[in-house]
């Protein structure tokens, strides 16, 4: 299978071979390119929240579509390429072998870049399944799975042909990443297609919520944490030129983290309609996560023992220290926010956004920057162009992160406190949601400024790296090295127990199986019961499936990314039932594919929206939110008043929904287009009577209004008890 030219010239016992550094260079350059795109998008959406006019009235530039693009670009394009660069470089050296197959490496690289480009095209066009960090539609999901398998085969193939018997702890973290991300991605992406760019998930409502946040949380765990910890265990000792502080601690760190992390997903769903036992389990394990996380942080920081004087002058070590410090902060704050009483205040607010960015900008960002500054001079066999510029990058990046974080935590706590404030008469102190929004808009400007600082630092990196590569010699070849073949343990005096351990630790397959067991145990105990939820979360007869027009309106809601700013989940606490109405029940979401409980309330919850406002209010609101809500920061959606509803596709949508278990009758499916047209004409006629322009029945805004007027309608009719 090995297609790489690997001249194994045996010189005695030594074998001579070359590392594949070309693939590492490609991933490094891709990291830099996509890092700039991801950060630029982040700054743009930050300004859009500060000033709605920056949405420009263009569908593909509106916040709801760009926000998923920003998160996908930052996580899977920037961090993803950084991970692959770091893994390809360190794996070859830790295993003393060239990558298993150069063609697989190339397929991995180009496949991943194509997926990123596909995401960059489809998300602004509104092709989204609306599951956070898993928004991409089914053809791209399949491509991701295929490329990930290529990566896995290449990685495990390299383990098989290695010359180093022991698998260093960094490799363990890479194995856990590869296995767990594959499981998470496949389970969370099981959708049934309606067309090439439209699908519905097989899970619905509470099931979908649990599966999504089992995935979503562990995307953070196994894409933004475990691989970066693996990188930390390799690159920090290299940069500090001393071994990791405690290898024993790294083993405890690894197994505790892998086992605990997989359970913590439900902390994203505290006080929702998720079963209480799952919420408790999520909270419990989230709090426990503090221990292994801090074990890893301490192990990293103590690796610098005796080298702290170099931190003063070495920007790479500075970045490692900052990354580990932010890792420690984020992994303290995460368990804190998972405690139900704290979560009550922080959830749905900017505090969560601050928490996430403390981790991504601070931990993932600085880890990636440190790695790039360390790798590039070695890969291109030159010196860093300017240490001074790297120092400037560090300080601007640090200042940007702190500015961003403080603005968001202040904003989140401010809004959280305002939203739950009840006066002495038992009424809401701030009954209008918009009061809490206008209060925090100044902090959105501060956040955007923090983002600009961070981006400026990254531009310094781009310039510095470009000049460094310019300085490199023109002639470049892969690094040649020599190593002994895999040793056979025949030494006398080695006990059978020691032999057993060395074999176990050296067996990549056995080790991988243990990781799978650790991950599956956690996943199974949480996920399997939800498969049987249908037995006790069945919709009562009063909860009707969406009409064809409402379903289409729901798809428009999903397409526009409304879930990025609006939840559909009233929590069972007095401030929310006073503001929105009765708390949400799991049965209400029984037909929701995908679920739309949301995770952030830049605008109010919509679970009880039905009948709250007349159709004309929604009509005017979507055309220009400021017409009906003074001070609103919501974008305008003028294209919904021009684009026509595709009535022909509705039949197929209902068919797919019925195959997923939604009780549509043959007649409803057969008459989907006719029924939807009639419903749309009734809404349009009513709107025209109220003063709206005529002939709007076939416009998308009508379908959206039909959906919005359905939210919570079954409950209000007494269908839920």
């Amino acid at each position: 299978m090995t297609s790489a030219p690997e001249p194994n010239q045996k010189m005695g016992l030594l074998e001579t071979f070359r590392y594949d550094d070309a693939i590492v260079k490609k991933f490094v350059l891709a990291t830099i390119v996509w890092g700039f795109v991801g950060l630029l998008l982040g700054v743009l959406v930050a300004f859009q929240l500060a000033d709605w006019r920056l949405n420009l009235g263009l569908p593909w530039l509106t916040f709801g579509r760009l926000r998923p693009l920003h998160t996908n670009a930052a996580i899977f394009a920037f961090a993803g390429n950084a991970i692959f660069a770091g893994i390809y470089y360190s794996t070859q050296r830790l295993l003393k072998a060239r990558m298993f197959c150069d063609r697989l490496s190339a397929a991995h690289f180009w496949g991943w870049q194509l997926i990123i480009v596909a995401a960059a095209i489809t998300l602004p066009l509104g092709f989204s399944v609306s599951k956070e960090y898993a928004e991409l539609e089914w053809p791209i999901d399949i491509a991701i799975a295929a490329v990930w398998v290529i990566f896995a085969v290449n990685f495990f193939g390299t383990i098989l042909k290695r010359r180093e018997k022991h698998l260093y702890v960094a490799i363990w973290f890479y194995i856990a990443t590869i296995i767990t991300v594959a499981i998470l991605h496949i389970v969370n992406s099981i959708n049934l297609p309606v067309s090439f760019w439209k699908s519905y998930p097989v899970f619905s409502g509470a099931q979908d919520a649990l599966v999504q946040w089992w995935y979503g949380h562990n995307a953070v765990a196994f894409f933004l944490t475990t691989p970066f910890l693996g990188l930390m265990y390799y690159y920090l000792p290299k940069a500090a030129n001393r071994p990791v502080y405690s290898y024993r601690l790294s083993i405890i760190h690894f197994w505790s983290l892998v086992f605990i992390y997989i359970w913590a997903g439900p902390h994203h769903l505290l006080y929702t309609a998720l079963p209480e036992w799952a919420q408790t389990l999520g909270m419990l394990f989230s709090v426990m996560l503090l221990a292994p996380s801090w074990g890893g942080m301490i192990n990293g920081l103590l690796t610098l023992r005796g080298a702290w004087d170099r931190v003063r002058t070495d920007p790479i070590l500075k970045m490692f220290v900052a990354a580990l410090t932010f890792y420690g902060m984020a992994t303290f704050e995460g368990p804190l926010l998972s405690i139900k009483s704290v979560n009550l205040l922080g959830h749905y607010t900017d505090w969560i956004i601050g928490h996430v960015h403390g981790g991504t900008l601070g931990w993932n960002g600085f880890m990636s920057f440190a790695m790039i500054y360390w790798l590039v001079p070695k890969l291109w066999r030159t010196k860093l162009y300017s240490v001074s510029l790297a120092q400037w990058h560090f300080w601007t990046g640090l200042l940007g992160t702190i500015t961003y974080y403080l603005a968001m935590v202040s904003s989140g706590i401010t809004q959280g406190l305002m939203l739950r404030a009840i006066d002495s008469t038992g009424r809401l102190q701030y009954p209008d949601f918009i009061e809490t929004v206008t209060k925090i808009v100044p902090l959105y400007w501060v956040r955007a400024f923090g983002g600009v600082l961070y981006l400026f630092g990254f531009v310094l990196l781009i310039y510095n790296i470009a000049k460094t590569i310019q300085l490199a010699p023109r002639e470049q070849s892969d690094e040649q090295t020599q190593a002994l073949p895999m040793p056979v343990d025949t030494a006398s005096g080695v006990t059978s127990f020691q032999k057993f351990h060395r074999q176990l630790e050296g067996l990549g397959g056995v080790f991988s199986s243990l990781v799978v067991i650790a991950v599956i145990v956690g996943g199974a105990i949480e996920i399997i019961p939800t498969f049987f939820m249908g037995g006790f979360i069945q919709a009562p007869p009063e909860v009707r499936p969406y009409s064809a027009l409402q379903l289409h309106g729901r798809d428009i809601y999903v397409r526009e990314g409304c879930y990025t700013c609006h939840s559909q989940m009233v929590r069972p606490i007095s401030s929310e039932t006073l503001r929105y109405g009765a708390y949400s029940r799991a049965e209400e979401s029984a037909y929701d594919r995908p679920f739309q409980w949301g995770s952030k309330r830049t605008g109010p919850d919509l679970a009880r929206l039905a009948g709250k406002y007349p159709d004309l209010w929604h009509f005017r609101h979507m055309l220009n939110p400021r017409d009906v809500v003074a001070g609103s920061i919501m974008p305008s959606y003028p294209w919904l008043f021009e684009d026509q509803t595709d009535f022909k596709v509705l039949r197929k949508k209902l068919q797919v929904m019925r195959s997923l278990g939604v009780p549509y009758t043959d007649e409803q499916i057969r008459n989907a287009s006719v029924d939807a047209t009639a419903e749309a004409e009734a809404i349009a006629a009513s709107l025209t009577q109220q003063g709206a322009p005529p002939r709007v029945a076939d416009k998308e805004i009508i379908a959206l209004i039909a959906y919005l007027q359905r939210l919570g309608a079954d409950f209000k009719k007494g269908g839920i008890h």
Binding site: E164, F259, I260, P275, E276, L281, F532, G535
Partner: protein, 56 residues
């Protein structure tokens, strides 16, 4: 039938079971890493990143 059994299952037990499994793994790992004669092995392994060119 299965759905009914599961719907009436006292689901406090998954949390307890999970805690016990984790405790078992944690204690097991602690015993494992502090077994006799393991110090030298871990020192060797922890030095792997710093000895990439030992064969030269």
């Amino acid at each position: 039938m299965l759905a009914r059994v599961l719907s009436e299952f006292p689901w406090v037990w998954p949390a307890c079971l999970a805690m016990l499994i984790f405790l078992g793994i944690f204690v097991g790992v602690i015993f494992w890493i502090f077994r006799r004669d393991s110090r030298g092995l871990y020192e060797t392994i922890s030095a792997i990143p710093l000895k990439e060119h030992e064969g030269k």
